[in-house]
């Protein structure tokens, strides 16, 4: 089955290539009765980020079809529909940058959607900046993207230092409830050596410093991680009160597996990418009471006119893509959808397809979406939406922090499963 789909993907790819060539001769391509408005995207369809790259692409595609169904984008008195040229960046930064150049110079793309991961976004942003191409991205959360003075980069997601910082606050709160001082909390941090995870570490250590907490373990995970027993052995010895692990899907999977095997007994464990690694499906009860950060959850009460509520989005998304049956729709898809939605909104407010006017409209974005509020800072990051912390409780992801959104109480301390 997979083989078949891989072959059809290849075939349809080559067909697209030919049809693209044919259309470039024509004046304007029509989609669903509206004129095509071309966006470009270099995204990881192969390589180590392929899983999440495909989640993001599905998110883009879903938004485009929804917008098309709802009558397209109305700019002035004409209607448009998005048409995306995708290239596979193979999860490599240099490839991503080359493809961005190609999209802009050869395919004459005027607007870009972001790639997957902070590293790839970092590689592509200088290119879009050079050619002054507005890029709305949904998958690059590293804060180092937003201190370079980029003017054409907009991100719908919260920056990565916020991912697990709320776990520190939660640990402090629990320590105080137990009658101890917040500064007595010991923290163990194990993150991958990449821009995204290092931001998470920075965010956690900054917050820990505010409380006067001590980091007893502070290690970097290798890229090809399949065994972290050396760190977990130290965790057993040093008995931290909070264990933070971030290393994309493989980090989450390795951590949960070995935490179970080694009976790691830490009162609070917080990870990233739990959903993407499917830790509940793969490891069952072992994953219980682990905290997972998320950009978005379908149980949150956000909504908009196009996609309805967050839970409505999830249902329709699952109905469109059968791959997600019995799984959670990952936030990577939701935010990709939100990025396309932001573009639609900006085009309509700009009333023209002139890229400078669209950029101006993007800076003024103030949008309520199913994914959360979106409002860009000077630097281009979304400052309106908070991060959410969920806890796996009996195999379910329940929102436990921040308290304004919490639907459940946090289970603390975590018992070894």
């Amino acid at each position: 089955m997979k083989i078949l789909s891989a072959i059809t993907a290849c075939l349809s790819g080559s067909v697209l290539l030919f049809s693209g060539a044919a259309f470039s001769a024509d004046e304007a391509k029509q989609i669903n009765g509206c004129e095509a408005l071309t966006l470009g995207a270099a995204i990881s369809l192969t390589g180590k980020y392929a899983t999440n790259g495909i989640h993001a692409k599905n998110g883009y595609e879903f938004a485009i079809s929804k917008i098309s169904e709802a009558g397209g984008i109305n700019i002035g008195d004409k209607c448009y529909n998005f048409d995306v040229i995708y290239y596979d960046d193979e999860s490599k930064g240099d490839r991503g940058a080359t493809l961005a150049e190609r999209l802009i110079n050869q395919d004459k793309v005027q607007y870009m959607l972001g790639p997957y991961s902070s590293g790839l976004t970092k590689a592509i942003a200088p290119v879009t900046e050079k050619y002054q191409i507005p890029m709305v991205e949904a998958e690059g959360a590293s804060r180092s993207l937003f201190n370079k003075g980029y003017k054409y980069l907009f991100a719908v997601l919260s920056t990565s230092e916020q991912y697990l910082a709320s776990a520190v606050a939660l640990a402090a709160e629990k320590a105080e409830e137990a009658g101890k001082d917040a500064s007595s909390v010991k923290i163990a941090v194990a993150v991958e050596n990449d821009p995204f995870s290092l931001d998470i570490r920075a965010g956690v250590l900054e917050d820990a410093k505010k409380f006067g907490m001590k980091a007893v373990i502070d290690e970097k995970l290798p890229r090809d991680l399949s065994d972290m027993s050396a760190i977990l052995t130290k965790v057993k010895l040093l008995k931290p009160d909070l264990l933070i692990v971030s290393g994309h899907s493989k980090g989450a999977a390795t951590a949960v597996r070995q935490i179970g095997e080694m009976k790691i007994n830490v009162p609070m464990i917080a990870l990233t990418h739990c959903e993407a690694a499917d830790v509940t499906g793969k490891f069952g009860d072992t994953a219980n009471d682990i905290l997972c950060s998320t950009q978005w959850a379908e149980s949150l009460s956000y909504e908009d006119a196009l996609f309805g509520t967050a839970s409505n989005y999830e249902q329709e998304f699952k109905a469109t893509f059968s791959d997600y049956d019995g799984k959670k729709v990952p936030y990577q898809s939701a935010q990709a959808t939100a990025a396309v939605y932001v573009f639609k909104d900006a085009f309509e407010r700009a009333g023209t397809t002139d890229k400078e006017a669209v950029r101006e409209a993007l800076t003024a974005t103030d949008l309520q979406t199913f994914y959360g509020p979106i409002k860009f800072s000077e630097a281009g990051n979304n400052i309106a939406k908070p991060m959410v912390l969920r806890q796996i409780q009996d195999g379910e992801y329940n929102v436990v922090a921040p308290s304004a959104f919490a639907s459940h109480k946090v289970n603390w301390p975590r018992e070894a499963q």
């Binding site: 180590k48 392929a50 999860s91 502070d218 399949s226 493989k250 009976k263």
Partner: protein, 304 residues
């Protein structure tokens, strides 16, 4: 620096840590040794340095994982991977390796490097880039204070299977006709041909055997750790380090070096941080090469 000192301090403060590190290290070392053993075979017999070694391991892992998904008992995945990877190895030999075997070193390095990239990408297209593992429903044994040492029975079974396989291959090489032919070819391919050994057949057999051993190692790895299409390089690097350290044609040496590297890496990871685990393997290689160089300084040798 403080962290390194405190990590060393932990080793003395809690002596049991040493035991734990050793056990973990020997277990992973056993699997490194298996992959390295196959490499030593191919290197020694065919003089092909197979950079795709690690990808054969991962490929075997995916075979076992896929079959387990179809309902095959996970432990049966090991022989199944052995057989299927034998076939894949044979195809690889006929299509690629047989064409480069007589060429110089760089051609075969390039060819196997290409093979490695191909295998990783094909696995990625077929199965996606998610990490995969088989969860075995065996208990974990705990020893020591606070259950400090954990030995999952799955890991124990994996190590035993690795041992059985290694012993099986050693006996096969010593006793069987084919084993003798392989050793004869390794010593002098031309002489072997003169004496009527079909070296082409021996090469195909050796490469398939290597691929099958790697496949079995991969099937064990997927039961006790994780696999991902791009993890092959980890095992390839270890294999090269081990074979270089132990020397070709020194099977007990390969096994000892494999176990040793496993244990030393775990120590290194404990002291310097897990991020340096692979660096330590490479550093060990460097050390071994320097020592070898000093040892052989007085030997007269000619370049071939």
């Amino acid at each position: 620096m403080d962290q390194i000192l405190s990590n060393i301090g932990l080793l003395f403060e809690f002596p049991i840590v040493n035991l734990k590190i050793l056990i973990d290290g020997l277990m992973i070392g056993a699997l490194f040794a298996l992959a390295a053993y196959g490499l030593a075979l191919v290197w020694g017999v065919m003089n092909v340095k197979n950079l795709a070694q690690g990808d054969f391991v991962i490929c075997g892992g995916y075979v076992a994982w896929y079959l387990a998904g179809l309902g095959l008992p996970p432990l049966m995945g090991v022989p199944a991977a052995f057989i299927i990877m034998w076939g894949i190895g044979w195809v690889c030999y006929k299509v690629v390796i047989s064409r480069v075997i007589e060429r110089d070193l760089f051609t075969s390095l390039l060819a196997t490097f290409g093979l490695a990239i191909m295998i990783a990408q094909i696995l990625n297209l077929l199965f996606g880039s998610d990490t995969q593992s088989i969860k075995l429903e065996y208990a974990t044994l705990y020893f020591g204070e606070n259950d400090f040492i954990d030995v999952p029975i799955a890991k124990l079974i994996g190590v035993c299977m690795a041992a059985v396989l290694a012993i099986g291959v050693i006996i096969f090489m010593k006793r069987s006709r084919m084993g003798q032919a392989i050793r004869a070819t390794a010593q002098d391919a031309r002489a072997a041909r003169v004496l009527g050994i079909d070296t082409e057949k021996v090469y195909a057999f050796t490469f398939s055997l290597n691929s099958a051993i790697c496949g079995a190692a991969g099937a064990i790895i997927v039961m006790v750790w994780l696999i991902q299409p791009f993890y092959g390089i980890t095992y390839a690097i270890r294999s090269f380090v081990i074979v270089t350290a132990a020397g070709l044609g020194n099977l007990p040496g390969v096994i000892a070096a494999g176990l040793g590297i496993g244990a030393l890496e775990q120590y290194g990871a404990h002291i310097f941080g897990i991020g340096y685990q692979q660096a330590i393997a490479v550093l060990l290689l460097l050390l071994v090469l320097v020592i070898r160089l000093i040892q052989q300084r007085r030997k007269r040798q000619s370049l071939q």
